[in-house]
């Protein structure tokens, strides 16, 4: 049973930048915990603190009952991280990269060699085992790095944007792999692909400007916004028809069209009106992306009963 407990962590960098502001959350068990947020929100800062790379300015972090701010050495055999900006060392081949990384974990040369080949195979890199890293494509290099955590012996894994730069097929392969790992590991990842967080996560942390905006399961987050359906109108329409006696919110400018957030009951009325007005649309349950926009975009005004459509 793993546990991560963060209480009031703040991080102020040397240049006085406050990257994290009183972040608290706790997680118990195995599974995937995703951290999402805009560029510069503080995701990397948070994950680096959890992985004992960075000392927080204040606050407590306890992982598996070890205070990792005070005693980082005690947790290190159980954790592994792939930093956001890590790159596979150019003058090595993927096999050599993995062998040396695994030996840093304490494995012998022969164990490392065996595990290296095995983990590279899991990421479909068998045919690149002995190609120099510098000759590999960007996404393949990324996969080489990610493969390092599979057999590292660590049961808590930190991945800072693991799928950035991967093609859609590789990405979904990695998602499948992560889904399998979920049963045995606690994986903390950051991502800008909200679909990724939505599909994989047991819990999602949303941070904005260093503050924790939401921390919940996907279902919990859905409840945070009063709407559960999203209607997308992608064509530019002349005039939005009036919707009377329904609860909704219109968001303008999303992909140069409109997005209407509403609830299940009213979605029917709205779609009927749209059909009458001959407006093409698609309707979906709200996604993490909708929630993200809703919670993070500060300019949003409170939702409206009836007529006055708030737009931004």
């Amino acid at each position: 049973m793993h546990s991560v407990y963060c209480k009031n962590i703040s991080k102020i960098y040397h240049n006085k930048k406050k990257a994290l502001n009183n972040v608290s959350f706790s997680f118990k068990g195995k599974g995937i915990l995703s951290i999402i947020g805009k560029n510069g929100a503080g995701k990397t800062t948070l994950i680096r603190i959890l992985a004992t790379e960075l000392v927080p300015t204040s606050g407590t972090v306890i992982i598996d009952d070890i205070n990792i701010v005070k005693n980082p050495e005690e947790i290190r055999k159980n954790i592994a991280i792939i930093p956001q900006e890590a790159r596979a060392v150019q003058w090595l081949t993927p096999k050599q990269t993995l062998i040396s990384y695994l030996m840093y974990r304490g494995f012998s040369y022969s164990e490392s060699k065996k595990l290296a080949i095995e983990s590279l195979k899991k990421l479909s890199l068998t045919k690149n085992l002995n190609t120099l890293n510098r000759l590999l494509s960007g996404g393949t290099k990324r996969k080489v790095l990610v493969s390092y955590v599979l057999f590292s012996g660590a049961k808590i894994i930190f991945l800072d944007e693991p799928t950035t730069g991967l093609d859609p097929i590789s990405r979904s392969e990695l998602w499948n792999l992560l889904k399998k790992l979920k049963d045995d590991y606690l994986i903390v990842l950051t991502t800008h692909y909200l679909e990724e967080a939505e599909r994989l996560s047991d819990k999602i942390i949303l941070i904005d400007d260093g503050k924790l905006v939401a921390y919940d399961s996907m279902d919990g987050l859905r409840k945070k916004i009063k709407y559960n359906y999203s209607i997308l109108i992608s064509n530019n329409i002349q005039k939005m028809p009036k919707f009377i006696n329904v609860k909704y919110k219109i968001i303008k400018g999303l992909n140069s069209g409109y997005q209407i957030l509403t609830n299940e009951k009213d979605s029917e009325k709205i779609t009927n009106i749209l059909i009458k007005n001959n407006i093409k649309f698609s309707i979906n349950p709200v996604s993490l992306e909708d929630i993200f926009y809703y919670l993070v975009k500060k300019t949003i005004s409170e939702d409206s009963d009836n007529s006055d459509n708030d737009e931004y």
């Binding site: 680096r48 992985a51 004992t52 790379e53 960075l54 000392v55 980082p72 050495e73 290190r76 055999k77 954790i79 592994a80 991280i81 792939i82 930093p83 900006e85 890590a86 790159r87 596979a88 060392v89 150019q90 003058w91 090595l92 081949t93 050599q96 062998i99 040396s100 990384y101 030996m103 840093y104 974990r105 304490g106 494995f107 012998s108 040369y109 490392s112 120099l132 390092y148 590292s152 930190f158």
Partner: protein, 248 residues
């Protein structure tokens, strides 16, 4: 069991930074051979052969020092361009084990140079076994000093440009200005004091006096050892205690 793990971790650095690098890029091998030897050739030509013994001893010291300087460059590169330090920090490998492994990886690069210098030393210096042993100890101490300095500095760099600048300054301060390739008596008096800032000066005095190229009092000889050891211990402690391993 634990020792075995530590050895594996040390071996990881040696593989990553030297064995695999040389295997994949053989040119790395020749590179380190050239610079200390080229300085030796110049000294021998300029002194018309008179300083060949001192020159060989200087080349030994310079080679040991270059180990630490390359360590600084290599580790900065690995830290800033590949984030290797971040990966290793969050692993069971401690900063000390990482430093030792990487230090040894630099030693592997200088082995060919050391072999050439050893042959030259046997031909031109004619030291006894005891003299040779004392010289070896002084050289090991200089190597320890230089890798701790190199490791210490690398952990503070945030980009490779910065690290290049650092290497140049240090290499000038520790090996070009101090009387490594010549005798301290060649330096006019007030400037001799400046040379005593660098531990390489003490190592050079030890080597030069033990083989009879430089006359110093026994007291001076012991003081040289003392200072050399103290400077090295300070640097080692600094690198273990004060390196920026985990960022804050």
């Amino acid at each position: 069991m634990n020792t075995k793990k530590k050895l594996n971790q040390i071996f990881a650095s040696i593989l990553l930074n030297s064995i695999y690098a040389m295997k994949n890029y053989p040119i790395m091998f020749i590179n380190t051979l050239l610079s200390p030897l080229s300085m030796l050739v110049i000294i021998v030509i300029v002194s018309r052969g008179a300083l060949i013994g001192v020159g060989i001893e200087g080349a030994f010291i310079m080679t040991m020092l270059s180990g630490g300087l390359s360590l600084q460059g290599d580790l900065s590169h690995l830290k800033n361009d590949f984030k290797l330090q971040d990966i290793v920090v969050s692993s069971p490998t401690t900063s000390f084990i990482y430093m030792i492994g990487m230090g040894l990886s630099e030693l592997i690069y200088i082995i060919p140079t050391l072999i050439v210098l050893l042959i030259l030393a046997i031909l031109f210096i004619h030291a006894t076994i005891v003299q040779a042993l004392i010289m070896l100890i002084a050289l090991i101490i200089i190597f320890l000093f230089s890798i701790s300095l190199g490791f210490f500095l690398s952990t503070f760099t945030s980009d490779v440009m910065q690290s290049w600048g650092m290497t140049n300054v240090i290499s000038t301060l520790l090996s070009t200005i101090p009387p490594v390739y010549y005798l301290i008596t060649y330096i006019p008096m007030p400037f001799q004091y400046i040379a005593y800032i660098s531990p390489t000066t003490y190592a050079a005095e030890i080597l030069q006096s033990i083989t009879g190229y430089l006359q110093i009092t026994p007291l001076n000889f012991y003081v040289d050892w003392l200072v050399l050891i103290i400077l090295t211990v300070i640097m080692l402690v600094l690198s273990i205690r004060k390196s920026r391993w985990r960022e804050n």
